[in-house]
Amino acid sequence: MSDPIVRPHSKSWLAKFGELVKDTLTSQVVTLWRVFRHLFVATDTVQYPEQQPHMFSRWRGRIILTRDPDGEERCVACNLCAVACPVDCIALQKTEDEEGRWYPEFFRINFSRCIMCGFCEEACPTNAIQLTPDFEMAEYKRQDMVWEKADLLIAGTGKYHETNFYRVAGKSIGGKDKGEARNELPPVDVRSLLP
């Protein structure tokens, strides 16, 4: 392994002097010249808001809750986004409809704490919570930065169009009985002794 530090005793005085001259005169001066040339290069700055930046779809901006292809809420209130959140700005409460489908009774994001890290999106097993390219969320009152489910929930599927958790998971809900999820056999008749 080469030692990047030039040790005073490791080389002859002359060699060291030569190296210093090389460093100072060539390397540094060349650097100065190259940086100086940037004076004549077009700037990269986007003059927002007069000029709108191009936002990439994976940009981590405003958080939304999406619906599955059937139009139902994707969020199953599993709490994984809340626990993944490093600033603990997500709070929710699970509730259940008559047919066993889990959904959040309330879902609250305190955007005044949110750091847009996207951990919630990564943790979400149902692709319900997604970050969008919208970053224009400033408010004059901090209280207005607290968003409830009504503010977060959109009508569509967001970035991921296919995901439909309850079509895969074995729990039965309204409109999907036991044995009707992907790759499932019909329910077992426990009274039968046939193999």
């Binding site: 210093l20 540094q28 100065l32 940086v35 100086f36 940037h38 004076l39 700037t43 990269d44 700055t45």
Partner: protein, 317 residues
Amino acid sequence: MQWEVGSALNIASILVVVIVFAAMLIWVERRLLGFWQDRLGPNRVGPFGLLQVVADMIKIFTKEDWIPPFADRFGFVLAPTIIMIVILLSFSVVPFAPGVGIVDSNIGVLFVLAMASLGAYSVMLGGLSSDNKYALLGSLRAAAQMVSYEVFMGISLLGVVALTGSFDLREIVLAQEGGWFVVPQFIGFVIFLIAGVAESHRLPFDIPEAEQEICAGYHTEYSGMKFGMFFVGEYLGLVLISSLITVLFFGGWQGPLLPPLAWFFIKASCFIAFFILLRAAIPRPRYDQLMSYGWLFLLPLSLLNLLITGVVILSAN
């Protein structure tokens, strides 16, 4: 020792121009850095962002004048004033143009060096009185760096002094009528340039206030106008070093066609721009690299320069 003091008007206008210029440098530096980094820099306040300085001033003047409860009040307040005072005093001997200048002193060079070494106290006092580990580290670094680089800063000038035969800065300018000292004293110029950057702890030699390592070094605890004084002090130092280089090596106000003051301004501005380019381009060395570079390379080189100058002068005579 001769002291010829200029008119009050002279003094006042120089003081105002220098300070305003230093303040404007804050904007200039940010714009220039921006361009060199393919950005725009501050361009929103006023035309071309010129009023950014005013906005900054309003902000810094209206900030809470906070002195940490654990700090030593006296030293804490004194430190930023020292740096402003010593640098402004240094300007008193700088000959800007014929008839423009505050003092004509026959020991001008020595006075500048003396004032520069006083500047070290400001930094040390600021760091010590803050009672903060980063500030203390910063002030320790600053003390070592400034004391070291002062040595060959002085020696590098001796070539110029020897060629002129005077410590009077005005005479040094006049002595360059036949040719700028940068030609015979090129090595001296390079060493002075480097030492000057180190003295004003500008990048790449901003080791005493390296943000990434020690927060902001000796001015970690400073805010509001006291921080502002350190800040403007740094830019004043930049202007001073640029002015001195102009005076010592590039013939001061001398030049064809344009009025002398304009020549001085143009030359000094070039060096200021160069210093800003240094900041944009050169990374900060490590602390030990800085010290060994100074003592093991620059000091022998400056002594060699002096020796050769002496030999040449003696043999010419």
